[in-house]
């Protein structure tokens, strides 16, 4: 029976299995000194295959696999699609960059696939053990990916910082897990949530949840747990940054969703206030720090901190199991930031790393097209209408006002205005300043096409958002 069960589970988990297998093939291909071209194509092939298979495998109803340790539902599938999409864009764009930086190798791509898989495991996990392993799988792959850039001082620094701090966060999460296990006597997330339903609230339960969510806050880089993010953004190779900025956020959002779904703790005054305050503080700190940044990645990192604050607000607002607001925010932010970092990746070349915002001066003279793409992306991050980011912020603000948090809303809104300044600074550098850096790479028709995918969808979704809204609302409410 167990074997049948396992076989059935394997069949349902086939896209991930394929990815597991393919990642090892990629590794082998790298080991046997295939040219990096093949490695890249195999990676691409494996992701596309997995994506196609997972389309075919789309689950309308939730099903539990591997003895209830894995859950597969339309929620997990939705987020996985987003991850696949993002990942595809990332690897397509980063190809030239990696070759230029001599990073393209079998182990790089396979580690990237492992990181992706780790995130998928987080997304699908229904058990603390699997969850922990997923977190570790993705984190360990990411530490290594950063450290792979051996020649760079800042990369190794970023790696060690990320490593140590992330491990602390894992430790904190685990500590919380241990208490949860102790209270409920179960490792199943569902059971843990149910336990809270059955019993009256216990303080230890609350505190272990807080421990877990501090860990989550760390992974989201919510202030004051955000310090690693700018350093990692700056230090790691751009494709890795691109990954770190987007896919783990989605994965950890799903984690938060799992932990809070059907769980009355979200209505707990202390817990929800904590989420609210962390979110607000993060918006405040992120925007404030981003103002002074001169390096583009650090600026994006701090903007990421601010956006993580918004995600926390979204989670805070997920009363009555309505996670759709936060989910929409996460998805919209992730694809936007991927677009931004991809564009920066694209512009960096062999001789030149796009580090300072100043380097973007006069970009529109050199390539108006890229400048417009970047502008759309940044406006979306800022939440200006005509972009998907507007709806993301809109939903949050709307829900906050529905909750009667007027003053908090006004503060958030004012912070958004401050935040707008540093996005505008990039835009004005690109469009208003004269002179342009001739080292910036602007060629590559196919890459330009890939790059324009996200900005186009940002605007298209703005114009016709209803399908997405309906879908997200349906699966996450």
């Amino acid at each position: 029976m167990i074997i049948e069960n396992t076989l059935n589970s394997l069949m349902n988990f086939i896209p991930e299995i394929i990815l597991f297998i393919m990642s090892m093939i990629v590794l082998l291909a790298g080991t046997f000194r295939f040219s990096t071209k093949y490695v890249f194509h195999i990676t691409l092939l494996s992701v596309v295959t997995a994506l196609l298979l997972s389309f075919q495998n789309y689950a309308v109803n939730a099903s539990l696999l591997f003895n209830s340790s894995i859950i597969k539902s339309n929620v997990t599938d939705f987020f996985k699609y987003v991850c696949y999409f993002i990942f595809l864009v990332q690897i397509l764009i980063s190809r030239n960059y990696l070759v230029d930086k001599k990073l393209a190798s079998g182990e790089f791509y396979s580690l990237l696939l492992f990181a992706l898989l780790g995130c998928f495991v987080i997304i699908s996990s229904n058990n603390l053990i699997v969850l922990f392993l997923g977190i570790e799988l993705s984190s360990l792959s990411l530490y290594s990916l950063i450290a792979l850039n051996r020649s760079s001082i800042i990369s190794s620094e970023a790696a060690i910082k990320y490593f140590v701090l992330s491990t602390i966060a894992s430790g904190i999460i685990l500590f919380g897990f241990s208490y949860l296990y102790g209270i409920t006597g179960s490792l199943s997330i569902e059971d843990i949530a149910k336990h809270q339903n059955l019993n009256e609230s216990s303080n230890l339960y609350l505190f272990s949840y807080i421990l877990v969510f501090i860990g989550v806050a760390f992974k989201f880089a919510v202030a004051p747990f955000h310090m690693w993010l700018p350093d990692v953004y700056e230090g790691s190779p751009l494709p890795v940054t691109n990954f770190i900025a987007s896919i783990p956020k989605i994965a950890f959002f799903v984690l938060a969703y799992r932990f809070l779904e059907d769980n009355p703790i979200i209505n707990n005054d202390n817990f929800s206030k904590l989420l609210l305050l962390l979110g607000m503080f993060s918006i405040l700190a992120g925007n404030l720090f981003a103002l002074a940044q001169k390096k583009i990645m650090r600026m994006l990192a701090y903007s990421g901190v601010a956006n993580a604050g918004f995600i926390f607000l979204g989670i805070f607002l997920a009363v009555n199991n309505n996670f759709s607001i936060a989910a929409f925010y996460v998805v919209s932010y992730s694809i936007t930031i991927v677009s931004a970092i991809s564009i920066i990746t694209f512009m960096s070349s062999k001789k030149f790393d796009l580090v300072y915002i100043n380097d973007l001066k006069g970009l529109s003279n050199r390539s108006g097209y890229i400048a417009i793409l970047l502008m759309i992306t940044l406006l979306s991050t800022a939440g200006i209408p005509l972009t998907i980011g507007f709806y993301a912020k809109y939903l949050i603000l709307d829900a906050m006002i529905d909750r009667g948090l007027i003053i908090a809303t006004v503060i958030v809104v004012l912070m958004t205005v401050i935040g707008l300044y540093y996005y505008l600074r990039v835009i004005w550098f690109m469009f208003f300043e004269r002179g342009s850096n001739s080292l910036i790479n602007t060629i590559g028709k196919f890459n330009l096409f890939v790059l324009s995918l996200i900005p186009t969808s940002i605007i298209l979704i703005f114009l016709f958002p209803d399908y997405i809204f309906k879908y997200v609302f349906e699966i996450l409410t």
Binding site: I160, S178, G185
Partner: protein, 101 residues
């Protein structure tokens, strides 16, 4: 009589010491790694305590996995430290602040 609370307080203390170890230490990055091991040890102890007192083996299974992962983690950590040492010729923590602001 040694109760569950005794064990839990002990592991909490261990947890606090290990975390303090991470930020009190200013010189040697290897000590950081050791502190992390210590932290995981405290977590493991917690799990085992709960597993023991609730007579449920799954906590111990978790500990098994944590041990495995911790080993992998320290391997990667040490690898990073070695590579850091190669490029900077030092692993002093208070020299690692090229990324800041």
């Amino acid at each position: 009589m040694i109760t569950m609370t005794h064990y839990l307080v002990f592991s909490a203390l261990l947890f606090c010491i290990s975390i303090a170890g991470i930020f009190i230490n200013r010189k040697n990055i290897l000590l950081l790694l050791m502190s992390i091991e210590l932290m995981l040890l405290s977590v493991n102890t917690n799990f085992i305590v709960f597993s023991h007192f609730s007579n449920d083996i799954s906590g111990q299974v978790f500990v098994f996995f944590i041990l495995a992962v911790a080993a992998a983690e320290s391997a990667i950590g040490l690898a990073i430290i070695v590579s850091l040492y190669r490029i900077r010729n030092s692993i002093e923590i208070n020299l690692i602040n090229k990324l800041k602001g």
